[in-house]
Symmetry: C2
Subunit: 150 residues, 2 copies
Amino acid sequence: MPLPQTEVPGRLQAHFAERGIRMTQQRRAILSVMETASKHLDASQILRKAQKIDASVDRSTVYRTLRLLKRHGLIDELDLMHINGEGHYYERRLGRDHIHMACLRCGKITEFVSDSFERLKQQVEKDCRFRVLISRLEIGGYCATCRGSQ
Amino acid sequence: MPLPQTEVPGRLQAHFAERGIRMTQQRRAILSVMETASKHLDASQILRKAQKIDASVDRSTVYRTLRLLKRHGLIDELDLMHINGEGHYYERRLGRDHIHMACLRCGKITEFVSDSFERLKQQVEKDCRFRVLISRLEIGGYCATCRGSQ
DNA sequence: CAGGTAGATGCGACTGAGTTGCAACTAGAT
DNA sequence: ATCTAGTTGCAACTCAGTCGCATCTACCTG
Ligand SMILES: [Mn+2]
Ligand SMILES: [Mn+2]
Ligand SMILES: [Zn+2]
Ligand SMILES: [Zn+2]
C-alpha cells in the first residue's frame, strides 16, 4: 500500500536525512521545488510552487528553509545584477559553479561554465590563503543579440 | 574672493561636468564622500558622511545619486556576501576591477587584483559574445587567520 | 505503538532598504 | 535678472526578509 508520495526523494532530502535534519511536509515541498527547478527562482516563486504541493507552506518557512539550504551549501543566492528589483534568486548547487551574465538591455540571463573560473578560485586559495566556500561571479552587459542593435 | 570651496573637485565631479550633468551642493557632498572613501560604504554611512559636509542632504538624494553614479559606471555595488544585513555597499570604480573575499567567521573583507580575472572576463567577451560592462566576483569562506583556528 | 520533547510551523506584527509623488527650490542657460 | 528643466526634501509608501510566540509534529524512547 504505497503512501501518497508526491515527490521522489532527491539529493537534497538525502543530504538532510544523512545528517539527521528533521524532514517535514513543508520542507519536502520546498526541497522538491528546488530539486526540479530549471532556473533561478525568487522567494515568492518558490513559495507559490511549494504551495501547489502543500498548500499550508508559509512565506516565513520558505525563508527559513532557504537559509538552512544556504548554510549547508546546497543552494546559491544570486542578485542577477538586480535587474528586477532588490530581491534574491536561488538555484541548486550542483557539481560545478558557473558564471551568470545579465543583459542590461533585454534582461536575459546566460550561464557559463569555465575552467579559468575554477583556476581563478584556486589562485585565490593559494595566493591569499583563503578557503573558498561560496563564489559568485555576476556580469552585467550586453548579450550577443543586444550588442548588435545599438 | 574665493568661495567657501569645501572640497577639491575630483574625477567624479569632472566626469559630471564633462557631460553637462547638473552639479548641486548635495551632489558635491556625496561625490566627495565617494572620492575620499577608503572602503566599502553602505547608503546610511554615505548619508551620514555627506551630511557632515552639507547638513541638508536627504536619504533619497543619496539613493538617487548612487543610482546616477551606477548608471554612469562610476561606482560598483556590492553585497559582500550579505555578511551584515540585506543592504548594499558602494565603492568607487578605479582602473582595475578586484575580487572581494568575505570571511564568514570574522567578517573581514579582503580585496584581490588578479590578471586571471581580467583574462576570464575577456574569455566571456569572446566565447559568449557578451559585452562585459560590470563584473562582480564575491567569494565567501575563511580568511588566513580564521582558517587555522577551526 | 503510545507518550514526550526538541524542533519546526503559521501567523501577524515588525524592521530596514530602497522608491516615489509632489510642491518647493536652484543651477545654469539666455 | 529671468526663466525653466532638472533636482531636492519630505513623507508616505512598497517590498524583502525577520521574529516572537502559541501551536503543532517528527521522531526518539520505552
Ligand atoms: Mn545559474
Ligand atoms: Mn543583494
Ligand atoms: Zn540582451
Ligand atoms: Zn576571518
